[in-house]
């Protein structure tokens, strides 16, 4: 980067931080003053109507609960937000029950890996409020069809839900998607580590109308979000490119540059072979195998818009 570009970068960063931190800080001061509210007794602590639950449940037991107050669920000024029983059921037996050797009766809806509550019943509690927007197609999604509980991925009682943080989201997805965890460690992969590209940039885990739970309706349209230069249409198209990028690429990672599924020329020989040079066996010193292999010459492999009239344009060389 040139010195001038660096200065430009500094200026942009400085402008951004000054502008928005400057906007934000007066709000902090005002809000800090407003938090000096009167002590009205224990009452509801973090959710509207939570008093009956928080008389026993607090932050110091086996499963701390009060941090839900730090989340959007705990925004009590929003009249759509839930109370404890919205998610856990009225649970009268739990409220009335007394401690015994068998313990207190459970809440009507219980979450976690050992919960006896059927997963559809658990998820129904979440969907009751969150059915719209990106979750319209939840019922058709593969997570729902495979009985994945919302709480398998989401932590509701914590300020930082790991799956909603870009730097930690892949760890959550990798809990079940082991192949993708391995692929992400290969030589060529998307930059997951610092949250630059994460699972939810391409997939809607809550179900979508597209294939593979993709955020767009097709594989190609999902990839074009960041790789729009490959969209065309071109004078000379490479048919698989506008049908499905995953014919050639493994978007989760590969040992081959460009996240290719197989090295060239072998990749290309899966479809093309026979005439001219296309069926030649690969050789470690051949220009058909080394460097960019087939793409050494067929350089516009995603499509060419060369109007030159040259024959090579049709074979994506120009």
């Amino acid at each position: 980067m040139s010195q001038w570009s660096r200065l430009q970068s500094v200026s942009k960063t400085a402008l951004f931080v000054l502008l928005f931190s400057g906007l934000a800080l007066p709000q902090f001061s005002q809000a800090a003053a407003e938090t000096e509210e009167e002590d009205e007794g224990r009452g509801d602590l973090v959710l509207n109507g939570d008093a009956i639950c928080t008389r026993c449940h607090d932050e110091y037991e086996y499963y701390p609960v009060l941090s839900i107050g730090k989340t959007k669920h705990g925004t009590r000024a929003d009249d759509r937000t839930p109370n404890c029983t919205s998610c856990h059921g009225d649970s009268q037996a739990h409220l009335d029950g007394s401690e015994s050797d068998d313990g207190r009766p459970l809440t009507e809806v219980k979450y976690g890996v050992k919960s006896p509550t059927p997963i559809p019943k658990r998820n129904a509690k979440c969907i009751a409020c969150h059915q719209g927007g990106e979750r319209i197609h939840w019922q058709q999604g593969s997570h729902n069809l495979n009985d994945v509980a919302c709480t398998s991925c989401h932590q509701v009682h914590t300020a930082h839900d790991k799956v909603r943080e870009r730097t930690t989201q892949p760890q959550v997805c990798f809990t079940c998607h082991k192949q993708q965890r391995m692929d992400a460690m290969k030589f060529s992969s998307h930059p997951l580590e610092d949250g630059k590209v994460v699972c939810s940039d391409c997939h809607n885990a809550h179900g979508s109308a597209g294939v593979k739970e993709l955020v767009r309706d097709t594989v190609v349209d999902t990839c074009y979000q960041c790789h729009a230069e490959k969209r065309g249409p071109f004078i000379w198209s490479h048919e698989p490119v506008n049908e499905d990028c995953s014919f050639c690429h493994n978007s989760h990672g590969s040992n081959i540059a460009g996240m290719l599924k197989t090295r060239m020329p072998m990749l290309c020989q899966n479809c093309h072979e026979g005439d001219v040079h296309r069926g030649l066996p690969p050789d470690e010193n051949s220009r058909f195998t080394t460097g960019r292999a087939c793409a050494n010459c067929h350089t516009n492999i995603h499509g060419s818009n060369s109007p030159s009239g040259a024959v090579g344009a049709r074979s994506l060389q120009r």
Binding site: R6, L7, F16, V17, L18, F20, L25, Q27, A31, A32, A33, D39, V46, D58, L66, I68, K70, D78, G133, I136, H137, Q139, Q140, L145, D147, A159, C176, K178, R181, M182, K186, F187, V211, A228, E229, G232, P233, F234, W236, S237, N255, A257, R263, M266, Q269, E273, G274, D275, H277, G279, P281, E284, N285, T290, G291, T299, N300, S308, A310, A313
Partner: protein, 698 residues
């Protein structure tokens, strides 16, 4: 980097000076209730410090902003304020602010009412190869061979600026608008083929100057009631590239040669209009839909006129119409049915014109329709035990393509059946299994290039005899088994086994069979209230066996008649194997101290074995037994320690060691470029240490 670091350092100092006292304003509340209420109050954090990275990196520093050795500023902040009276949030986030992969975001929203945000994201990507090249004019669209050789490394930078707003117009009616502007700049290694006058065909190194701009505008309107949810929207995507072509002057190699011109990606744009929704038909049944219309256009003015038509641009226009329907129903307490139907009609309406005179070839169109339907059923036998089954049908129809250069089919259809089950075997053990079987077939094969379009393949024609992956008849079987075991309250283990096998048939050559296998085990153990361990181990294998034939041994003049589908064929099997493990530990040995670490290791090998099926008459064209196996290993060790100075502030020490080895010979063996060689390091390692101060409070 110096100015950048100083700039960010000044800003971070200012922020640290300003923010903590404000955030600490509530510290005076000291009764128990106030303490409890603080637990439910959004917290904020600021981390600032410095780090040192030991080495200049090519492969390890591709995306992490640490490709240069030296000192780096550490600055992260996550500031969350909520006005409890109004439910108004102010969120200011910054991650890796002192590095080139920085991310910044500011958001204000009144929950359930309005929202606006602005976000900046930068990603620097460093090419992992070193180029010694005599190319001049790098960075422009006019390059020439024959300059003084210099060592170059190429990189690109993406700068994304995104802003948006949302407003609840009335109860259940929400409007959202967002705009994204991405500028991608830099250079990337590229190339082109060519034949100097009187010389043999060769490849030339090129560098593409990257100056791409992508813009997206998306507007959506949501209407949500208890029974009905609707989302309608419009998406506009624009791509601009000021570079239309690259010209390469090869006068240093051949004084009589004309410059080689290679087209670069043209400007294009896409518009999408959609309506998506769901309706609860009854307490047990819900229907969903999505309809959309998309238009992709590319009409960039040609950088030179085409000698065989009068067009000044392609006039590229593709119209795509999609319909998606779904229905989910709990027929009774035990049985759930789920059905989906997806239809896509891609209509390539680009005008056809002759672009090449030699064969009178016109531009190819890519119209097709896809229909996909699934029906799944789940039956719950008892709590924790269920059976699943389903069928999927996929039908793809493609319009004819003018003079394709490979054999193709106009229709493929695939039917997949799957069965599975989930069972809670005991309080400690639960598992699931899923088996699927699919069969794909298609219409008659149509010939590739050299044969009149539409000709059916009823006689051997050499270069049409390939069973291409996306068209071939295919039988596929897949298995997935998962087992969760909780032997103790403190210990959990999870096993996963996945396998698949594919067999291809139809035409004599091409893919024959493939398989994949993944075995993985994960475990977590809570040693005590203070210490926990986790670990995982995975292994996988993917293989594809294909056959093809080498034409070069056949007399060109008698190609079609000389070819026999059993002659001069060879097979190759790509086998990728991988092993990976991870270990992690976290501990809180005292109130002040937190410790943790992780170790990840992976080893991947890529093999390619070859064998003659029918040896060529001339032995020089026979395949070698195998290509050299390529091995890639990665070791990553991360350690951290946090020491709390008081309840809200402390120090954090991070150490990280990365090492890779990579014997990929693909670039190091490439000697075909005129005047350019490429080097890929076979190993790289790096030590990184960071010390930072943190403040966490309200």
């Amino acid at each position: 980097m110096t100015q950048l670091k100083y700039g960010v350092f000044a800003l971070s100092t200012w922020m640290l000076a300003a923010v903590p006292p404000v955030l600490a304003a509530d510290e005076a509340e000291d009764d128990e209730l106030a303490e409890v209420r603080l637990l439910g109050t959004p917290a904020s954090s600021v981390t600032a410090g410095a780090a040192y990275s030991s080495d200049d990196l090519t492969q390890l520093g591709r995306y992490n902003g640490r490709d240069d050795s030296g000192a780096y500023l550490l600055l992260n902040f996550d500031i969350n304020r909520r006005d409890d009276e109004t439910g108004t949030w102010t969120l200011v986030d910054g991650r890796n602010v002192g590095m080139s992969n920085r991310w910044l975001r500011y958001e204000r929203n009144r929950q359930g009412n309005w929202k606006y945000f602005i976000e900046f994201d930068q990603l620097d990507t460093v090419n992992p190869y070193l180029f010694d090249t005599d190319l001049t004019g790098i960075g422009s669209d006019q390059m020439a061979t024959g300059g003084t050789s210099t060592r170059r490394q190429f990189s690109q930078q993406r700068q994304n600026l995104k802003m948006g707003m949302g407003k609840q117009l009335s109860k259940g009616l929400d409007f959202r608008l967002s705009y994204r502007h991405e500028q991608k700049e830099g250079e990337r290694n590229w190339g082109t083929g060519g034949r100097p006058v009187g010389g043999s065909f060769g490849s030339f190194f090129l560098v593409e100057p990257i100056d791409y701009r992508t813009q997206e505008v998306e507007a959506t309107m949501d209407y949500t009631t208890e029974k009905l949810q609707l989302r309608g929207g419009y998406l506009l995507s624009l791509f601009d590239n000021p570079t239309e072509k690259l010209a390469l002057d090869i006068g240093s190699i051949d004084a009589n040669a004309q410059a080689i011109e290679t087209a670069t990606p043209p400007d294009n744009h896409s518009q999408l209009l959609f309506l998506s929704g769901g309706y609860r038909v009854s307490d047990r049944t819900r229907g969903t839909f999505k309809v959309s219309y998309q238009q992709d256009r590319q009409d960039e003015t040609f950088y030179q006129s085409n000698p065989f038509n009068n067009r000044s641009d392609l006039g590229g226009k593709v119209d795509t119409f999609r319909v998606n329907l779904g229905m989910a129903s709990r027929v009774n307490a035990d049985l759930t049915l789920n059905a989906k139907l997806r239809y896509e009609d891609r209509d390539d309406n680009t005008p056809q014109a002759r672009y090449i005179s030699t064969f009178g070839q016109v531009n190819q169109l890519t119209s097709r329709t896809t229909t996909n339907g699934t029906l799944d059923a789940t039956y719950r036998l008892q709590p924790g035990t269920s059976l699943t089954g389903g069928v999927e049908y996929d039908l793809r129809r493609r319009d004819p393509v003018d003079e394709p250069n490979m054999a193709r089919r106009e229709k493929n259809d695939e039917t997949t059946f799957h069965v599975g089950g989930r069972k809670k075997l005991s309080e400690m053990l639960q598992g699931s299994v899923r088996l699927s079987h699919s069969e794909r077939e298609g219409s008659l094969w149509l010939s590739g290039s050299g044969i009149e379009a539409g000709t059916l393949l009823t006689a051997p024609v050499a270069f049409d005899y390939v069973n291409s992956l996306q068209y071939a008849d295919r039988t596929r079987d897949q298995l997935r088994v998962m087992l969760d075991w909780y032997p103790m309250e403190e210990w959990s283990v999870q096993w996963v086994l996945e396998g698949s096998q594919e067999r291809y048939s139809g035409l004599p050559l091409g893919p024959r069979e493939g398989d994949s296998l993944l075995a993985s085990v994960d475990t977590a153990y809570q040693l005590s209230d203070e210490w926990s361990l986790n670990g995982w181990l995975s292994a996988n294998r993917r293989a594809l066996d294909a056959s093809t034939h080498s034409w070069i041994d056949i007399d060109v003049a008698n190609f079609a008649t000389a070819y026999n589908d059993s002659q001069q064929t060879w097979s190759g099997e790509s086998i990728d194997r991988g092993y990976a493990l991870g270990l992690g530990v976290k501990g809180v040995p005292s109130d002040e101290l937190k410790l943790g670490g992780s170790l990840q290791y992976s080893k991947d090998t890529s093999e390619f074995d070859m064998a003659s099926i029918a040896p060529p008459a001339d032995a020089q064209y026979a395949p070698a037994s195998a290509l050299p196996t390529i091995k890639y290993t990665l070791v990553q060790l991360k350690l951290y320690g946090e020491y709390a100075l008081d309840e809200q502030q402390g120090m954090r020490l991070d150490y990280r060691y990365d090492r890779i080895t990579n014997n990929d010979w693909t670039w190091n063996n490439h000697t075909d470029y005129f005047g350019t060689t490429v080097t890929q390091a076979d190993n790289e390692s790096n030590h990184y240490i960071g010390l930072s101060y943190y403040y966490r409070g309200w």
